[in-house]
């Protein structure tokens, strides 16, 4: 019978994995289980690629606590099961933040309370991604237990480090398929003194894309560039957004007060030609960008949801193309580099063929099926399928950590 095992220290994690190796029983690895519905389902009647049943669930929620935080060194080490909100609260005291702005992906599944390990395992980043990097750009070191049951480490606690392979980055975005992380060291950075947002009113997708590109390509250090169509903009809890009753394009400026003042005026002049401009103050900006970060417009619904990472300038074209076959709503983040697409009506493959071929034919990138029912996610590739040689390499990398394929088997790719 499947048990939920909650180890209290890294040695117990290692013990559990060793036992599972002995029985060759795959482990379902989680933090607090909030992102259960992301990825291929590995539990239950669908079994795994080798027709094995899942042994036990390894839940890392008891590995909870900040082990080291040195604000003037810009570094924090925490156990993998530490809630991300605890970390953000602890560093906010010193006016610091996680610059990659981890999104609360779990809110798309109606859950709350993700962990640091979850954020790292899914490489979750927010609207600042194109300027400040992803979670993977802020990880300094890890400790974890591989699928061999061995406790290993990589990296360290300093920013500049090229000693050995960067296995910390490899762990980031590996969805628990290589190792169970026990301890994570990340970079923290100062929070901006001020945050404001310029809003362009009523642009269509193509013009919005041009405006976002112009803004990011200016020297005004734009740290957020999003475009929301009318149907999504009106859902915002920020009255200044929803009351405009049009599509809106938001451009965020952050930093020291006098710097934001100067840049916002300069950017206003740059963008005048695109349409009417309004401005969100600091308070509204913070709320608005947290809505963007957590994809709020698509939280309270159950439509099939795709997340696409694409060549930024081509995003309106990609959306138009997909829309010709699958009606739906799109919003653009990362200056067009990230498309969230919610489909009104889906098909058996959830539109995967159309979505992926469109991206393939328009500059490349990848699409993840973020939300769909269990059956769909066991039949449609949730993550972008890889070309044969790359898939073979990924499989060998998996094997180098987890030769018996007991760590979250199939969660990313069938057989990995």
């Amino acid at each position: 019978m499947t048990k939920v095992l909650k180890p209290e220290n890294p040695n117990q994690v290692s013990e559990i994995i060793e036992w599972s190796l002995g029985d060759e029983l795959p482990l379902d690895i989680a933090g607090t289980n909030t992102k259960r519905n992301l990825g291929r389902p590995i539990l239950g009647k669908y079994g795994d690629a080798d027709n094995r049943v899942i042994g036990h669930t390894l839940e890392l929620s008891q590995l909870n606590g900040i082990l080291l935080y040195e604000p003037e060194e810009l570094v924090l080490t925490a156990e993998a099961g530490t809630p991300i909100s605890d970390i953000e609260a602890a560093i906010a005291v010193n006016r610091q933040q996680l610059a990659f702005e981890p999104m609360n992906l779990e809110r798309l599944y109606g859950t709350e309370g993700g962990t640091l390990g979850g954020v790292i395992s899914c490489n979750l980043s927010g609207p600042r991604r194109f300027k400040s990097g992803a979670a993977r750009d802020h990880i300094l070191g890890i400790k974890g237990v591989s699928g061999r049951g061995e406790l290993f480490k990589s990296g360290g606690r300093v920013v500049k480090n090229v000693t050995g392979y960067d296995l910390s980055k490899l762990m980031t975005g590996s969805y628990g398929t290589l190792a169970a992380l026990t301890e994570i060291t990340i970079k923290v950075l100062p929070s901006p003194e001020d945050t404001r947002t310029l809003i362009l009113i009523g642009l269509d997708d193509e013009l919005a894309q041009q405006a976002m590109t112009a803004a990011i390509n200016s020297s005004h250090e734009v740290s957020g560039a999003v475009h929301l169509p009318l149907t999504l903009a009106i859902q915002s809890s920020v009255a200044n957004i929803s009351s405009s009753q049009t599509a809106i394009t938001g451009l965020r400026l952050e930093g020291f007060g006098p710097s934001v003042d100067a840049r916002i005026e300069a950017l206003r002049i740059n963008l005048k030609k695109y349409g009417d401009l309004e401005e969100l103050d600091r308070e509204d900006s913070v709320v608005f960008w947290s809505e963007v970060r957590d994809v709020r417009p698509f939280q309270k619904e159950n439509r099939v949801l795709w997340r696409m990472s694409v060549t930024p300038s081509l995003s309106p074209l990609i959306v138009k193309n997909i829309r010709s076959e699958y009606e739906g709503e799109a919003f653009y983040d990362w200056g067009g580099g990230l498309i969230w697409y919610s489909m009104n009506q889906s098909s058996e493959d959830c539109g995967a063929q159309k979505v992926r071929s469109t991206i393939q034919n328009n500059g490349g990138g990848h699409a993840t099926l973020i939300r769909a029912d269990d059956i769909s996610r066991s039949q449609v590739e949730v993550f972008q399928p890889q070309p044969k040689a790359l898939a073979a390499l990924s499989s060998r990398v998996k094997k180098s950590f987890d030769p018996k394929r007991i760590m979250n088997p199939d969660r990313m790719y069938l057989g990995v």
Binding site: E70, K153, D166, P190, M412
Partner: protein, 495 residues
């Protein structure tokens, strides 16, 4: 440093290998004469020299793929090489290995301003990328000191940094895509113009892998709009400790400068004697802080940084008045290595990183070591990120001095690890720090890294003898001892 013994069967097959290479690349691009091979006998770590078996200079990706396939099938080792500026011996040749020079891959293939990226071949120099895009107000941020010569392929292999990486990140944070060739000849593309690669972050893994995993044949780099202005502050203190405290206070005030560099007394004196840019020579530490961005921001931060420095009893605070003066402030720092070179027949440059607050302890210990080994040392630091470059001065012509310098260096690196830091911040492990890896990693850690190597290069023909102190066969690393048994007492509340 002992390199793996050359394989006699390969040495005996040299002519056969030359013949095979002549069939893949133009005859002119296979270098076999001893005199011409000597050009490649070492890289930036000149203490180590070795003639390669031969040098091959391919011109197309297909040629690289064919060369690697041949080597894969015939068990011939390969050492990839860009401009050969590595300071850790990453491109040190092997007597029984082909040095694969990527110098002919020197084209900027595409600049895409709308998507803020450029596709370049690996042999393009770091500086040439910035030069190619500067007309449109862009630049490529990582700027290692050797940027005029070092290539982007080498930068990716070593995950190079530079003065600006505190604010703008290392190579790994500034590339979007790679094309690589594996030892079996497979050509793979990782990432592209989009953000975050799909599947495992093999882009992150390749960056800093020191030429051990695959040969890089194309790089897509991020380019950034240039900041409008930049101003430098030159602040002097009585001691490195006060300088270190100033760095901590600047960061605690929420300021991440574009660059923040420190030099100790001996380094300041050497630099000033060399370039005469007006460095105060009777001080204990000199801190250079560069602030970049819109003029309003720069002015605001100059005030803040100045008052932080003054509160710590800085001896002097100078603000650059114009671009020429800003460059002169940097001229001394940039010339620090050659400046030390004038004072001593030879010097040995170290590259450890430490948590910044350990700086006083590390400097004090280094002083003691300097006495113990009877060798002088000067220090330049990337102060913002704790990356130290102690320069140990010695004379290779005096018997025993090189060994003493190396032992001194090894002691410094052990100390870095002991205080929570690492062996190398930006120069790489290469051959230089290979045998010290055990100071930082357990055997389990190192074996796991080697297993990853095996996933890419099961015959271990790519750059062997670098990074790992002990070479294990992949089959041996793959073995696993399993304790057969059921999960005992799963109902116990211990989990």
């Amino acid at each position: 440093m002992k390199m793996p013994d050359p394989d006699k069967t390969i040495l005996a097959k040299r002519n056969e290998i030359i013949g095979a290479m002549n069939k893949i690349v133009k005859k002119d691009n296979v270098i076999v004469e001893k005199k011409k091979l000597a050009v490649y006998e070492s890289d930036g770590l000149t203490a180590y020299k070795q003639l390669p078996l031969i040098v091959v200079l391919p011109e197309t990706v297909e040629q690289i793929s064919s060369v690697l396939s041949y080597c894969h099938q015939n068990n011939v080792k390969i050492v990839p090489r860009g401009a050969g500026t590595s300071l850790s011996g990453g491109a040190l040749p092997l007597a029984d290995g082909i040095t694969l020079g990527l110098g002919k891959f020197n084209q900027v293939l595409e600049v895409d301003y709308d998507n803020r990226c450029a596709r370049v071949q690996p042999g393009v120099t770091n500086l040439a990328i910035s030069k190619a895009v500067e007309g449109n107000g862009f630049y490529y941020a990582p700027d290692p000191s050797s940027q005029i010569a070092c290539t982007i392929g080498g930068n990716v292999a070593e995950n190079s940094g530079g003065v600006h990486c505190l604010k703008y990140g290392l190579t790994t944070n500034n590339i979007l895509g790679l094309e690589i060739v594996l030892t079996d000849g497979e050509i793979l593309r990782l990432g592209g113009k989009h953000m975050d690669s799909e599947g495992y972050d093999l882009l992150g893994l390749m960056t800093g892998s020191e030429g051990l995993l695959g040969v890089i044949t194309e790089v897509t780099v991020r380019i950034l709009p240039k900041p409008t202005t930049a101003t430098a502050l030159m602040v002097s203190f009585n001691s490195s400790e006060a300088g270190g405290k100033c760095v901590a206070n600047i960061i605690s005030a929420g300021i991440i400068p574009g660059g923040m560099e420190m030099m100790d007394g001996p380094a300041i004196a050497a630099a000033e004697a060399f370039v005469q840019v007006g460095y105060p020579v009777d001080v204990g530490a000199l801190l250079l802080v560069e602030l970049d961005g819109p003029p309003e921001e720069v002015d605001y931060l100059i005030e803040k940084v100045s008052s932080i420095a003054e509160a710590l009893d800085a001896i002097s605070v100078r603000v650059s008045e114009n671009e020429m003066e800003r460059e002169s402030f940097w001229a001394g720092r940039k010339a620090a290595f050659p400046a030390i070179g004038r004072m001593t027949p030879d010097y040995y440059c170290m590259d450890g990183t430490i948590p910044r607050n350990k700086l006083p302890y590390v400097l004090e210990s280094m002083d003691d070591m300097s006495k113990k080994y009877d060798l002088r040392v000067a220090n330049v630091f990337h102060a913002g990120d704790g990356n130290l470059h102690p320069l140990i001065m010695y004379d290779a012509n005096i018997p025993g001095e090189l060994e003493r310098a190396e032992n001194f260096g090894a002691d410094i690196l052990r100390l870095c690890v002991e205080v929570g830091g690492v062996l190398t911040g930006e120069h790489g492990v290469g051959v230089e720090k290979r045998d010290l890896m055990g100071e930082m990693f357990s055997e389990i850690d190192l074996n796991q890294q080697q297993r990853v190597k095996c996933a890419f290069d099961p015959e271990q023909i790519l750059n062997p003898g670098k990074v790992f102190p002990t070479l294990h066969r992949c089959a041996e690393l793959g073995r696993m001892h399993i304790n057969r048994g059921k999960l005992p007492f799963p109902d116990l509340p211990r989990f």
